[in-house]
């Protein structure tokens, strides 16, 4: 068997078949993440801007960046993680690149993302 076929087959078997709303870099999202403490499961929400989407298939990840008490915090989530409970898209951002690494050094107005207006039927 072809190596890529084998990888695709295994990914198919492990696929959690969860559907999340579509989002892209620059969007503001809230990720509800399950945290397992012993036997208890707690849900924590991580809210921030998506600064990159990386990879493909079962190893695809996205990075969410937020400011917490003035300190930038980034967290990488695998799409396929069974610990992601829910993703909510809160704001659509208007950005001109796929990887928003410039936000790490941007201060003040430069560090803000403009909102993308969505066209509606009327």
């Amino acid at each position: 068997m072809n190596a890529q076929d084998a990888i695709n087959f295994v990914h198919e078997q492990f696929n959690s078949k969860k559907e999340y709303p579509a989002f892209r870099p620059g969007d503001n999202i809230a990720v509800s993440y399950k945290i397992i403490e012993g036997s208890k499961v707690r849900i924590q929400v991580f809210r921030g801007d998506v600064i990159q989407i990386n990879g493909e298939g079962a190893t695809k990840t996205f990075t969410v960046r937020k400011k917490s008490n003035g300190v930038g915090v980034e967290r990488i989530f695998p799409y396929a993680s069974p610990n992601i409970d829910e993703i909510k898209v809160l704001k659509f951002g208007k950005v001109r690149r796929a990887k928003l690494y410039y936000l790490r050094n941007a201060i003040g107005k430069k560090g803000r993302i403009k909102e993308r207006k969505l066209f509606t039927a009327n």
């Binding site: 084998a6 990914h11 492990f14 959690s16 396929a80 993680s81 610990n83």
Partner: protein, 198 residues
């Protein structure tokens, strides 16, 4: 390699191995050979690339010519000549296995990459072109020679290596696939031996 998530949410880096189906091409026994072993054949070989001697060997087992023949000594599988050995005959989920294979050839490498020497670690203080040098390789007029076995630059990789204690994450008998946690020696598509740990 790829990665999968276990049920408890942990991500495991794993390697996919096409394990079998193998054919028993010879059963060695105590009387004739002095020891007991199973010889397994794996992978199809072209008949035109198979020597007549080997063609006869395969004919005895009643199979098509195989690419690789490997002997498993004191193998406890209850199989006779010409039988097929599949993944599920040997391996199950959760088993611990060892992988034996030939590592990727790295070419001529210096001591820093080959033996994890630390190099000089300083670009100034009198250093010139010596960042990755091995340093002293011996003493003075006694013994007036470099001792045998002194670690120096040279060919690296391309050697037989056994990686121990890999865990089987999943077995897919219908595709002859093994999903094993961790890395195994060799490049993509290379042939390896998987041993079960008891």
């Amino acid at each position: 390699m790829t990665s999968v998530f276990t049920e408890d949410g942990n991500q495991v880096a794993c390697t996919l191995i096409e394990a079998g189906p193998c054919v028993v091409t010879q059963v060695k026994n105590e009387e004739a050979d002095g020891y007991y072993a199973l010889q397994l054949g794996f992978g199809e070989a072209k008949p035109k690339n198979t020597s007549q001697q080997m063609a006869g060997h395969f004919e005895k087992a009643g199979t098509s010519p195989k690419r690789k023949l490997i002997e498993f000594r004191d193998c406890d599988l209850d199989k006779s000549i010409g039988d097929t050995v599949t993944v599920e005959d040997v391996f199950a989920e959760g088993d611990i296995v060892h992988a034996i294979g030939k590592t990727k050839g790295k070419g001529f490498q210096g001591v820093v990459k080959r033996y994890n020497f630390r190099g000089v670690g300083d670009a100034t203080h009198g250093q010139h072109n010596r960042q990755r040098a091995p340093g002293s390789i011996g003493q003075a007029s006694y013994p007036a020679q470099v001792r045998k076995g002194m670690r120096m630059g040279g060919r690296m990789g391309g050697t037989r290596v056994k990686v121990k204690n890999l865990k089987i994450v999943k077995v897919y008998p219908e595709k002859n696939l093994l999903v094993v946690s961790g890395a195994i020696p060799g490049h993509k598509g290379s042939t390896i031996i998987i041993e079960k740990k008891y």
